[in-house]
């Protein structure tokens, strides 16, 4: 194992980690807002990737241009999912936690079925985009441009999110609603509207991630499954309720995955991620930066 291999591993791990962070950001936001884990998160990613693919295939819109469109579309989708499904799931008096898990899990199955029905199970890829296939070489270390762009988007998204939550009225409304939904109703804030917007925002973030992923990843109805579990582990590792935690945890997950693959057979590389998660929560039961 040469120094070059190790540096390359760490660099790739870092890029991948930021991307995991970006995928997990929406999940973290939704959880932080209303203690709901969206088990259809991977499927949100899947439809974002499909949307990007079809905009490219039919209208030749490059993923870079369609990313805002896809994020906007996902915003609407997320809000609608909240209003039609999640709103009722959180109202459940009995077994609220279980109802949320299985309502969103059922939604995930339906979305996969619908994707298969309408888009067929074929594997699709965007062939020629502005960034696709380009790679930077810095002193023998290769940094693929799409992933680099994804990593930078992740950083930007987290910065914006941070200011959004802490510095804007809407962000404060989100925060206040999370802390005491009953009290905000008294000051005229409609809880459902705030939650719907929160879901929309979370979905928009995963929409952004999906649009960038579509540049370098294949799309098919089950594509979300590979990323969903990593996203859950990332959010939990960072600590529920902390958007910054998801960002930090994403980087850790990426780096751990890359280093595990250097030490163990690559087929076991996820074991490293799982071991780190268990180790952290056994020591700190609320994740790295969790408040819940």
């Amino acid at each position: 194992m040469t120094a070059e291999t190790i540096i390359q591993s760490l660099a790739s791990g870092l890029l991948m980690g930021l991307l995991y962070g970006l995928i997990a950001a929406g999940l973290a936001l939704i959880f932080g807002l209303m203690d709901v884990v969206n088990f259809a998160h991977g499927e949100f990613l899947m439809i974002a990737m499909y949307a990007t693919f079809f905009l490219f295939a039919f209208f030749a819109i490059d993923p870079l241009l369609s990313a805002p469109l896809v994020a906007a579309a996902l915003f609407v989708f997320g809000a609608v999912v909240y209003l039609l499904i999640v709103r009722f799931a959180v109202r459940a008096k009995a077994n609220a936690g279980m109802v949320q898990i299985f309502a969103t899990f059922g939604l995930a199955i339906v979305m996969r079925g619908l994707a298969q029905y309408f888009f067929t199970p074929d594997y699709r890829s965007i062939t020629h985009s502005w960034l696709g296939g380009k790679t930077l070489s810095l002193a023998g270390v290769f940094l693929p441009v799409p992933q680099l762009f994804g990593a930078m988007t992740a950083i930007a998204a987290f910065v914006v999110l941070y200011f959004f939550i802490n510095r804007t009225d809407f962000g404060r409304a989100l925060e206040a609603t999370r802390e005491d939904a009953g009290a905000v109703a008294l000051v005229g804030i409609d809880k459902n509207r705030v939650f719907a917007l929160g879901w929309g925002l979370g979905a928009a973030l995963v929409g952004l991630a999906g649009a960038i992923m579509a540049i370098f990843f294949y799309v098919y109805p089950d594509v979300g499954a590979s990323f969903a579990l990593i996203a859950y582990v990332t959010v939990a590792l960072g600590g529920f309720g902390s958007v910054f935690g998801a960002f930090a945890a994403g980087i850790i997950v990426g780096l751990v995955e890359a280093t595990t693959a250097l030490i163990l057979p690559p087929s076991l590389k996820s074991v490293g991620i799982y071991a780190v998660y268990l180790l952290v929560v056994f020591i700190r039961p609320r994740g790295l930066f969790g408040s819940l």
Binding site: T2, S9, R124, T135, Y218, A225, P266
Partner: protein, 416 residues
């Protein structure tokens, strides 16, 4: 099967159940069960397979002028012109569901034969179930060598398995070496499933027998979100030949990741699977100029046998795709099964089994480059010669073995 008399006489229910499934009345239809993943992550394979089987059924049931068994005339003449009817079942890549669906096909749909399954793990339970009901099972496209070594009487496989495929690759390497090409080191890249494991085992064994050095043996998790760490190790090893055993998803990601990390393998010799799928070449075909894949089918056979081209067009009209390594074997699977049923002149499982065992079909009446179809006592056809195909200028050309090759191999892979 070693069912003792005592076991059979254990109870009335047991012995009743062991009678051959109710003698089937002479019908105008012969029902054949086809079991594939029709939903879930490999649904695409199942959906394409449906089209291949429907094309074959169409050729059997209607009158076509091909030099292919059962093409001429309508239906099966041995059964008074009975038509072939297909019943599709979905096993969702789950061995348990495969078993349950096979039982349903046999007991409810009254199929007289079963064809499947794509995933080798499911073929294990499907063939086992067929054995219990004494219904012949034909492995159309499973390539795990362990399948025909389980002492099953009702198991048949016309196409090659991974050891035969891998042997063809090493024969090719040997031939290249004789010509003075330097091939010394190999990198294996395989997924952690039955397919990947069997393939890697066969390749490791052949490499040590024939004096090739394996410099990297990368086993990865199927459907990984990223393959960067894996590709780095391949890049560091930089073997003379990279030998991937991957399905479409991972093949796409592998090729993309190699380009991203600036790794241009000297040569790629692929164990089919993803490397024969249109989706891969649609996605990253420009990076695959000169890749070699093993296969059991080659479209340039159409030059010698025009019917291959015409049947391919018929398939394409249904599926929008050319025949590939899987769909061609699936097509042929039904023809072979129907041919045996026709010769058995019966839909009785044991009679069909006997007819299958007696199969001796010359290769030139098939759409495959095989010498002939003749099963050994384990149900394996050892005359199914694999071919090696090279992807040149946007299509596959046959480069080995000598008898069917249409051009010389471009070696090493052209570097762009």
């Amino acid at each position: 099967m070693s069912i003792s008399r005592r076991d059979v006489l254990l109870g009335a229910t047991a012995s009743a159940a062991l009678l051959p499934v109710a003698a089937r009345a002479q019908t105008s239809e012969v029902v054949i069960g086809v079991i594939y993943p029709l939903s879930g992550s490999s649904a695409q394979i199942g959906v394409d397979a449906q089209k291949a089987f429907e094309t074959a059924a169409d050729i059997i049931n209607k009158n076509y002028d091909f030099k292919l068994p059962l093409a001429k005339g309508e239906g099966l003449p041995g059964l008074g012109g009975a038509k072939v009817k297909l019943v599709f079942a979905d096993h969702q890549a789950d061995p348990q569901k495969g078993r349950a669906e096979t039982e349903r096909l046999i007991t409810q749909e009254k199929v007289c034969a079963v064809i499947g399954t794509y995933q080798s793990a499911v073929a294990v339970t499907v063939s086992q179930t067929c054995e219990r009901y004494q219904i012949p099972f034909l492995s159309a496209d499973n390539s795990s060598p362990s399948l025909h070594r389980r002492g099953l009487k009702f198991y048949f496989r016309a196409s090659p398995h991974d050891e035969m495929f891998s042997k063809a690759m090493f024969d090719f390497f040997d031939a290249m070496r004789k010509k003075g090409t330097k091939i010394e080191t190999l990198s294996l890249f395989h997924e952690d499933t039955i397919f990947g494991t069997d393939s890697a085992n066969a390749q490791t064994k052949l490499a040590s027998e024939r004096g090739y050095k394996i410099v990297a043996d990368i086993k990865y998790r199927a459907n990984s979100p990223s393959l960067t760490a894996e590709v780095q190790q391949l890049k560091a090893a930089n073997a003379d030949v990279l030998m991937p055993s991957s399905y479409t998803t991972d093949a796409i990601l592998l090729v993309k990741t190699m380009a991203e990390l600036g790794y241009k393998p000297k040569n790629i010799m692929a164990q089919d699977a993803g490397f024969s799928e249109k989706a891969l070449y649609d996605a990253v075909g420009d990076k695959l100029e000169g890749v070699i894949s093993r296969g059991s089918f080659s479209l340039d056979l159409a030059e010698k046998r025009p019917m291959v081209g015409i049947i391919n067009e018929m398939f394409k009209a249904r599926s929008g795709k050319d025949f590939n390594d899987y769909t061609s074997r699936q097509f042929m699977g039904l023809i072979l099964m129907a041919d045996a049923i026709n010769r058995a002149k019966s839909t009785d499982g044991e009679k069909i089994r006997e007819a299958l065992a007696a199969t001796d079909m010359p290769g030139d009446v098939t759409i495959m480059p095989w010498k002939r179809v003749k099963y050994d006592d384990k149900g394996q056809n050892n005359d199914a010669d694999p071919v090696l195909l090279q992807y040149i200028g946007g299509k596959f050309v046959t480069i080995a073995p000598q008898e069917v090759a249409v051009s010389e191999a471009v070696w090493p892979m052209p570097s762009k």
